[in-house]
């Protein structure tokens, strides 16, 4: 049926014509870039011109459940501000995100608003990458100190002035299966976890859960998750009263090796007594809980949605208080909104940016559903949040929140988390003794502190 005679191909254009056409196209493209320079982000990137006054660029590192909630919060902003064109970009969490943020700010093409971890704030502010905020400007948008949780607010200051607006606190907490805990006889009449505080009480509870699951009592990420091991150590080390690891923005090492050895000895006990597996990655640790092979999980609150989606009976509470030598402590960090330093005031668009930040805080309830404890007190103290389960069950953990030590090599996903986490893992798996581990921590931190700072 098909026509077998090949259709003659159109005469091939001469090389010269192709070249000429290409040049014309290129020239047209260049003209579009210069004339419509304000129009597209791409063109703005090439020409370096300021984006149009109604445009707001926003960068964040949120994917998964957090990402969905962040999109909903942006939709709420869009609905209320029809004249503003909100362009948001999501990047992979961690160092790739901070690298992009740093380079775009240095290259005078920063977004107007960006999300950062407060543990990273000292380094970013010291490097001069952030716009200092003034209380007067913030107050104009209803962002006053009395409306914020004290800890993240204090952490948002640098050199006595606010440099960020905190959105939440996300501590390291304890997840548990209510069905397993009930069978193990660990629940009281109200369905709350009976006392798991203290070194022996916690291990006893894990052992009781292990008898029910037949596999493990609890789980925590160790393989490939140096930052999780850092959080485990940092929580217990602060509970022992170990104080800071480094001082002077990381130039001096002040680790208390005796306290570190005590914290490490307890971490080693968890694997030695076979209540927690020594080799589990991040996903594996959650899977052990959701498949009922472990009754407890020590992880960040941001995993609440991941566990929730498995549709098992579970609840959450603050990390147990193992040591009583110092005020209660658990490793935590906060997301905050910052204004990366823009080349000009027109590019910064202060009031547009602050208005957007205020709108994000007004959506704190949405954000809290993802597991984070809201820093915005009107939401944190609201009835709606108190009725949010299990989110409201661990809100008190934020009172014991301890941030990463301030150092240019510290903060979320940093070298310090990796170096400390590696040493902790090696104690956890039994390759290093707790005392040797503490000595190694001091040695490794000294090596980090001796390096020339890039800020």
């Amino acid at each position: 049926m098909r026509d077998r005679i090949p259709t003659p191909s159109p005469p091939a254009p001469s090389r010269r014509r192709v070249l000429r056409g290409g040049l014309a196209l290129g020239a047209a493209g260049a003209a579009t870039l210069t004339l419509g320079g304000c129009g597209s982000t791409l063109a703005q990137g090439f020409t370096g011109g300021a984006p149009s006054p109604s445009r707001l660029n926003f960068w964040n590192p949120f994917t998964g459940g957090d990402g969905e909630r962040m999109l909903a919060m942006q939709d709420a902003y869009r609905a209320a501000h029809r004249s503003t064109e909100l362009k948001s970009a999501t990047f992979l969490w961690g160092n790739p995100y901070y690298t992009k943020l740093t380079l775009s700010t240095l290259g005078d093409r920063p977004p107007q608003v960006a999300v950062v971890h407060l543990s990273k704030l000292p380094t970013l502010a010291e490097a001069g990458l952030l716009t200092e905020l003034h209380t007067g400007d913030l107050a104009r948008h209803g962002l006053t100190e009395d409306k914020f949780d004290a800890r993240p607010w204090r952490k948002s200051q640098f050199g006595g002035a606010p440099h960020a607006v905190p959105l939440d606190t996300h501590p390291f907490v304890l997840f548990f299966r209510t069905d397993i805990a009930e069978k193990a006889g660990l629940l009281d009449q109200q369905g709350q976890l009976a006392d798991v505080d203290g070194p022996d009480a916690f291990i006893d509870a894990l052992r009781a859960a292990k008898e029910v699951t037949g596999a493990w009592g609890g789980s925590v990420a160790s393989v490939k998750e140096a930052s999780m091991q850092f959080r485990l150590f940092w929580s217990f080390y602060r509970q022992v009263g170990g104080g800071d690891l480094v001082a002077d923005q990381g130039k001096r090492v002040v680790i208390d090796t005796a306290a570190a050895a005590e914290a490490l000895a307890y971490i080693r006990r968890l694997s030695q007594e076979k209540v927690i597996p020594a080799n589990t990655d991040g996903k594996g640790a959650i899977t052990l809980l959701t498949t009922g092979k472990a009754g407890f999980l020590m992880d960040g609150v941001w995993q609440a949605l991941a566990v929730q989606s498995a549709k098992v009976k579970f609840d959450m509470r603050p990390l147990p208080r193992i040591f009583k030598d110092a005020p209660y402590a658990c490793a935590a960090d906060s997301h905050a909104l910052v204004l990366p330093k823009a080349p000009t005031e027109t590019a910064q668009r202060l009031d547009l940016s602050l208005g957007f930040i205020a709108s994000m805080l007004h959506s704190s309830k949405l954000w809290a559903e993802g597991g984070h404890v809201p820093a915005w007190l009107p939401t944190q103290r609201s009835r709606a949040y108190k009725e949010l389960v299990p989110q409201s069950h661990y809100a008190t953990a934020a009172d014991g929140a301890v941030y990463d030590p301030a150092a240019w090599y510290g903060g979320a996903g940093s070298t310090m988390q990796n170096v400390v986490g590696d040493a902790v893992t090696s104690v956890f798996t039994g390759d290093t003794s707790p005392t040797a581990g503490a000595a190694r921590l001091r040695r490794d931190l000294r090596e980090l502190a001796s390096r020339p700072a890039p800020v």
Partner: protein, 302 residues
């Protein structure tokens, strides 16, 4: 006379510029994206260049070089990289030769065998890493189950044990990348003339002898190419390790490229990272040159 020579002289002038003219676009890319950054790397190594500040930073002289050469972590990552290179190059050269010889013997269904061995190579590193993270997973993974069938009660933690992690990653890499070498060997096998086979067969050589004394020596040049390409590729390992273990457990799988990435992008010490990358570049250059020199001498002796 003059009227006939004039056009020919202009055309020859045009011809003289035709070659370089065609090279120009590529040469521009080469200059902008390869030579330029290389020069910048060399220069940045002499400065305390920081990612957090614009410009080159303070002049550091040779202090970056002495710091890198005295850094135990640099030598450890180099050792890890070389260990990975040994673990992958040997099986990737030998096994791909064996597989190519095997596939070449099939007449019917050869396309399927070629496809089966080459297929993993088209997967992106992210897919391969995810796949093997499931296979190597602790408590729940396939690899531990399989070992248990063979009577091992407590299987090692494939990616969690410092002694096993690099071997596990190398095994995944071999499965993933063997297709490329396999195809090169298959192409080399096509070049072995039929007559040579026949002559050897008439002289009474069995199949094994034909492979050992005829085919393998005739594949010498292919082997050289495959080995050099493989060594260079293995020395540049990064993605699958970064995704599967991010250099852990306890830094036992951290390759040199990750040290460059970590110091340059995580810590922002670009000057130091430039020094490390230049030194790694020299190591790769040195290994390749030594290999080529050895091969050339062996060829001359033949």
């Amino acid at each position: 006379m003059a009227t006939t020579t004039a056009p020919s002289s202009t055309s020859s002038r045009r011809d003289r510029w035709a070659g370089p003219g065609m090279l120009l676009p590529f040469a521009l890319f080469y200059l902008v994206f390869l030579v330029g950054p290389l020069i910048y790397t060399v220069v940045a190594g002499f400065f305390e260049t920081s990612l957090l500040k614009s410009g080159l930073g303070d002049f550091a002289g040779l202090s970056n070089y002495s710091a890198v050469l005295g850094d135990a972590e640099f030598w450890r990552t180099l050792r890890n990289t070389l260990w990975f290179t040994v673990l992958t190059t040997v099986p990737l050269v030998l096994l791909s030769l064996v597989l190519a010889l095997f596939a070449d013997r099939f007449v019917r269904g050869r396309w399927f065998i070629r496809f089966a061995f080459f297929a993993p190579f088209v997967l992106p590193s992210a897919v391969v890493s995810l796949l093997f993270m499931f296979i190597y997973a602790d408590q729940l993974g396939l690899a531990q189950e399989v070992v248990k069938w063979f009577g091992v009660d407590t299987p090692p933690s494939w990616l969690g044990d410092p002694d096993w992690a690099m071997i596990s990653i190398a095994a995944a890499t071999v499965w993933w990348t063997i297709g490329f070498n396999f195809v090169l060997y298959l192409a080399g096998l096509q070049d072995v003339p039929r007559e040579v086979h026949e002559a050897a067969a008439i002289d009474g050589a069995g199949p094994w002898q034909r492979i050992r004394h005829v085919v393998v020596p005739m594949l010498g040049r292919t082997t050289t190419l495959v080995t050099v390409l493989q060594v260079i590729a293995s020395l540049k390992v990064f993605d699958q390790i970064y995704m599967m273990t991010s250099g852990g457990p306890d830094g036992s799988t951290r390759p040199s490229l990750q040290l460059i990435y970590d110091t340059g992008f995580v810590e922002g010490r670009v000057g130091y990272a430039s020094t490390v990358s230049l030194l790694l570049f020299l190591v790769i250059l040195f290994v390749s040159l030594v290999w080529f020199a050895l091969v050339r001498r062996a060829e001359k002796e033949n």
